[in-house]
């Protein structure tokens, strides 16, 4: 690969569209991969070990969900490389999940509400 700063490296996809795709290769990538691995492993071990402590279950649920989201961030950002894609692509992938948050809030509330009908005699 040439060192010319005025050039952008990449490849042509080689199919009928034959688009040019820019490629950045960073030799430090492998260090980042292993760092991500240790972080994920540490979080998983922490999760399994705090599951058996006497901490209140309600607090544990919040901690588990928070740690899960941290793990998801590391997998998507570094393993799936989304962090280094263009912002237009990042947002068109992440923003639809607002709908899932809405679904969770609505549906779990409904789950508690179905319970109400247990005490209605004619149902």
């Amino acid at each position: 690969m040439s060192e010319n700063k005025n050039e952008v490296h990449g490849y042509y996809t080689g199919d009928i569209h034959n688009q040019f795709v820019e490629e950045h290769y960073d030799p430090k990538n492998r260090a980042v991969i292993w760092r991500t691995f240790w972080i994920l492993l540490a979080i998983t071990l922490a999760e399994v070990s705090i599951a058996f402590t006497s901490i209140s279950h309600n607090i544990l649920i919040v901690v588990f969900i928070a740690l899960t989201i941290v793990k998801a961030y590391f997998i998507v950002a570094y393993f799936m490389h989304l962090k280094h894609e263009k912002y237009t692509l990042i947002y068109s992938i992440i923003l639809p999940f607002i709908l899932i948050l809405y679904l969770i809030v609505m549906a779990l509330g409904e789950g508690n509400y179905i319970h109400f009908w247990d005490h209605v005699p004619f149902l």
Partner: protein
């Protein structure tokens, strides 16, 4: 068609929307994979949300996963969560080998890509095998099992439950029954069940088993298809297909799918086993 290529900075800044190059700097194939994964993530989210709804509905009689999944291969006794923790480790590890294969592809190192792909396939098979083992023990159940009363209430024996008193039964709401007369009455009227299937579950509400089989089964199906796709790509790598093509984008695409499978497992692990 040329493989390794360069554009000059001027060219590249002028023509982003002018055709000839990808505006999002991602090939159409990778774009397809990303949006397929978004839709697949919606499917899994819906399944896990449905699980959450039923769990809230039956909150006080829902089984505790720490009391259900307590087996570990070649080890007698009860090690709750240990095996599923190991499965999580195996899947994360195979994700690492996958991303190392993608990295080797960026370096155009065909041998390294093949080696890391091979390890990824091994990791995938190990995970699927572990899941089969987990299913076997869930279907088989404990030796003592549980008693189902004519009205559908479950009373479990205390086998494998940490901190439970001896000669006791566990009521559906997780309290212990130690009164000998009451125990005798339940043992007389109750029908024994062992393990879990789609209509019965010795550990508690049958919906727990239904969701477990469906969600981990659907995930396992994804892992299995991922392994099959990985094998196809592995043989392409061995055959030098990507050396001739000049880029390893196909490895990146299958890598995205494989990381997604790992990502889903992170959520299944939390919502089925931890919370």
């Amino acid at each position: 068609m040329s493989a390794e290529a360069t554009l000059t900075k001027e060219d590249s800044s002028k023509s982003i929307w002018g055709g000839g190059r990808s505006p999002f700097n991602i090939s159409w194939g990778k774009m397809y994979m990303w949006f397929f994964l978004v839709s697949d993530a919606f499917t899994f989210s819906s399944l896990l949300t449905a699980y959450g709804v039923m769990r809230h509905r039956f909150a006080e009689i829902w089984p505790k996963a720490q009391e259900v999944f307590t087996h570990f291969p070649f080890v007698a006794g009860h090690l709750p969560l240990a095996y599923v923790g190991l499965m999580t480790f195996i899947l994360i590890m195979s994700s690492v080998t996958m991303v190392l294969a993608v990295d080797a592809g960026h370096r155009r190192n065909n041998k390294a890509v093949a080696l890391w792909m091979f390890f990824t396939i091994i990791g995938g098979f190990t995970f699927v095998g572990s899941q089969a083992w987990e299913w076997y023990h869930f279907i088989e159940g404990t030796e003592q099992g549980a008693l189902i009363m004519p009205n559908g209430d479950h009373y479990r024996f205390t086998e494998g439950v940490k901190g439970a008193p001896e000669h006791a039964l566990i009521a559906p709401n997780h309290t212990y029954i130690t009164d000998a007369v009451e125990i005798a009455k339940i043992e007389k009227e109750g029908r024994p069940v062992h393990g879990a299937n789609l209509t019965e579950n010795e550990y508690g509400h049958p919906l727990f088993g239904d969701f477990f089989f469906f969600i981990t089964g659907f995930h396992g199906f994804h892992v299995f298809s991922g392994v099959v796709i990985n094998i196809i790509i592995y043989f392409n790598v061995l055959g030098g297909v990507y050396t001739r093509r000049g880029h390893y984008e196909q490895v990146e695409k299958v890598g995205l799918y494989w990381h997604f499978v790992d990502l889903v497992w992170v959520f299944v692990f939390t919502f089925f086993y931890l919370v």
